[in-house]
């Protein structure tokens, strides 16, 4: 005895269901590019009055005078680059060193556990980093880090001036902790994607384990590791809250890391609501637009670099 089979739906009915399913999904998927289009046109259009008025000089002059209606973004652009560079200076050796240890020397268990802990840094909200920066990091710097730095390097232009607490140094250090998990997680995946035959070949030639890493593993993963660093740079450029809370928000341009500075993201966070005139607002939109364009370029190049090593696998999308 065979069970009676359920009646099959008619073909026309099925085709209708398929069409409805596909159309629904397509509409939802189209939302993504439409959002992007809206973002570019809205922010671009709002920035247009400032672009028209100041042209290229907006990017290279440093006047910021809402009363006289003259705006130049040079100090903010400089501050963004400087704080991001400081962050990379600290984060890259730590992230790469930790990733090399975890993938090449540590047992599997340690790799998962410590790797998970480092990833956890990415889960901490930016504003909490800022809070910690104000009440823990800055007092620590004032007490223990700035006096010795001044004693040893005080003669260089980078450690001149009064240290008030809020400074480029504090911003760079906070940023370095914030981007560390991104660089570490991508470079870990890149190193894991290096084929074992590379390591075995070097070991067979008599290399020590460190020589193996240095001569066989790192060169193989080089493009991906550079990609990981560039991805970290992309994060640092656009980071807002923590930086706004510790950088001091001053319009001057100074190479000393002990002095306060400003970044592009921070000036938007700080002055957007105070912007009383249309041109003032437009200048802030132009800063946002420039920031957007720069991060798009940086992120796109990072992705290309990582793809070259770990083709196909979704490296980097796992970072919390």
């Amino acid at each position: 005895m065979s069970h009676p089979s359920p009646p099959l739906p008619r073909i026309r009915e099925r085709a209708w269901g398929d069409t409805a399913f596909r159309v629904t999904l397509t509409v939802l998927a189209l939302t993504v590019p439409l959002l992007m289009l809206a973002l570019v046109t809205e922010v671009g259009a709002s920035a247009w009055p400032a672009i028209k008025r100041f042209g290229f000089s907006f990017l290279v002059t440093s006047a910021w005078d809402p009363v006289a209606e003259v705006y130049g973004a040079a100090p903010m652009i400089f501050g963004t680059l400087m704080s991001s560079f400081l962050a990379l200076l600290v984060a890259v050796p730590l992230a790469l060193g930790a990733s090399i240890f975890l993938t090449e020397f540590a047992p599997d268990r340690v790799r998962r556990f410590v790797g998970g802990l480092i990833d956890l840094l990415a889960a901490i909200p930016s504003v909490v980093y800022g809070l910690w920066g104000i009440f823990v990091l800055i007092p620590l710097l004032r007490e223990y880090a700035v006096p010795p730095l001044r004693a040893v390097l005080g003669w260089t232009p980078f450690f001149q001036g009064q240290f008030y607490g809020n400074s480029m140094l504090a911003a760079g250090l906070i940023l370095s902790v914030m981007i560390l998990p991104y660089i570490a997680s991508v470079s870990r995946e890149v190193l894991l994607a290096v084929p074992n035959s590379q390591r075995e070949a070097a070991l067979a030639l008599g290399a020590t384990r460190w020589e193996t890493v240095w001569t066989a593993v790192l060169p193989y993963g080089r493009a991906g590791l550079v990609g990981a660093v560039v991805l970290g740079l992309g994060r640092a450029l656009g980071e807002t809250m923590a930086v706004t809370m510790v950088i001091g928000n001053r319009h001057d341009l100074s190479v000393s890391v002990l002095e306060p500075g400003y970044t592009m993201a921070a000036i938007i966070a700080n002055e957007f609501r105070e912007a009383t005139t249309n041109l003032y607002l437009s200048a802030l939109f132009e800063i946002g637009f420039v920031l957007f364009v720069v991060t798009v370029i940086v992120n796109a190049s990072a992705r290309l670099l990582v793809w070259r090593v770990a083709r196909g696998s979704a490296v980097g999308s796992r970072a919390l």
Binding site: F21, P125, L131, F135, R303, L320
Partner: protein, 267 residues
């Protein structure tokens, strides 16, 4: 040199220990019943709590999920199922670009969209900003996980006479469901702590509000205002809020891990 890499690993974990240590040390002491059920008192006075901010966080993040998750999950399923053509490439590329966009830029974008034309800040605008951040993230995680479902499952369903859409929804998507839930929970965890996109949308509010067309406070905004303010009492509340906020974020992150692990075992 091997020793240097060990030191790097230790130094990389050190900030985590320091931050959590301080959060617990300074945060736990300011958390009591009042903290959860009272609203902020006038500046400079002691006492009060952050009930308004906790409620606001729940409302804004909930609303953002309501808007962002269906779009993100739908777009992700689209990419996995029909995403091999040119449109798939565009959606994927744009999602990656949006993922890397600074959240403050998303904030001023939503301001031009929802605050400027409507003439006022609102919790709804804040939720739209958070949803905008959530969509590209959820899109990519959903796609990745739906792609992992073996094609043979779909073929088996089609061979049994299922229509394509039923096979997609009831077999492929259902198999990938724990992974999709994980991606969604991670998306929620990521935006729950966001502050920058809310500065010019939800704005913040010292009063307890549940009307989504009015400005509303969140824990993240509260931490920003209190941490940068002059009063010790505010700093105390900021640390407490930070501990609660990180608790919420970690809860969602851990839940995300648990959902995947329960289904697929370790890993």
């Amino acid at each position: 040199m091997t020793a240097a890499t060990v030191i790097a690993a230790i130094l990389a974990v050190l900030p985590l220990a320091l931050i959590f240590g301080d959060l617990i040390l300074k945060g736990a002491s300011s958390i009591n019943l009042d903290f959860f059920i009272k609203n902020p008192v006038a500046a400079g006075q002691s006492g009060g709590g952050v009930a308004n901010a906790i409620m606001g966080t729940v409302i804004i993040v909930g609303l953002a999920s309501l808007i962002g998750l269906p779009v993100g999950i739908g777009a992700g399923i689209y990419l996995a199922e029909y995403g091999s053509g040119r449109m798939g490439w565009i959606v994927r590329f744009v999602a990656d670009v949006l993922n890397g966009t600074p959240s403050i830029v998303v904030g001023i974008f939503v301001w031009t969209w929802m605050v400027r034309p409507l003439g006022g800040f609102s919790a709804l605008a804040g939720a739209v900003a958070l949803a905008t951040l959530m969509v590209p993230m959820v899109t990519r995680t959903t796609e990745d996980i739906v792609r992992l479902v073996p094609e043979s499952l779909r073929e088996a369903a089609l061979a049994l006479g299922y229509a394509r859409w039923r096979a997609s929804l009831l077999v492929v998507v259902r198999t990938a469901l724990p992974g999709i839930v994980t991606g969604a929970l991670l998306g929620v965890a990521r935006v729950a702590g966001e502050t920058a996109p809310l500065l010019f949308t939800a704005l913040g509010n010292l009063h307890f509000k549940t009307n989504i067309f009015e400005p509303m406070q969140t824990l993240s905004l509260q931490i920003y205002v209190y941490a940068t303010g002059p009063f010790d009492e505010w700093h105390r509340l900021a640390w407490g809020s930070a501990l609660v906020l990180i608790g919420i974020v970690l809860l969602f992150s851990l839940a995300a891990r648990y959902v995947t692990r329960a289904r697929y075992g370790r890993g």
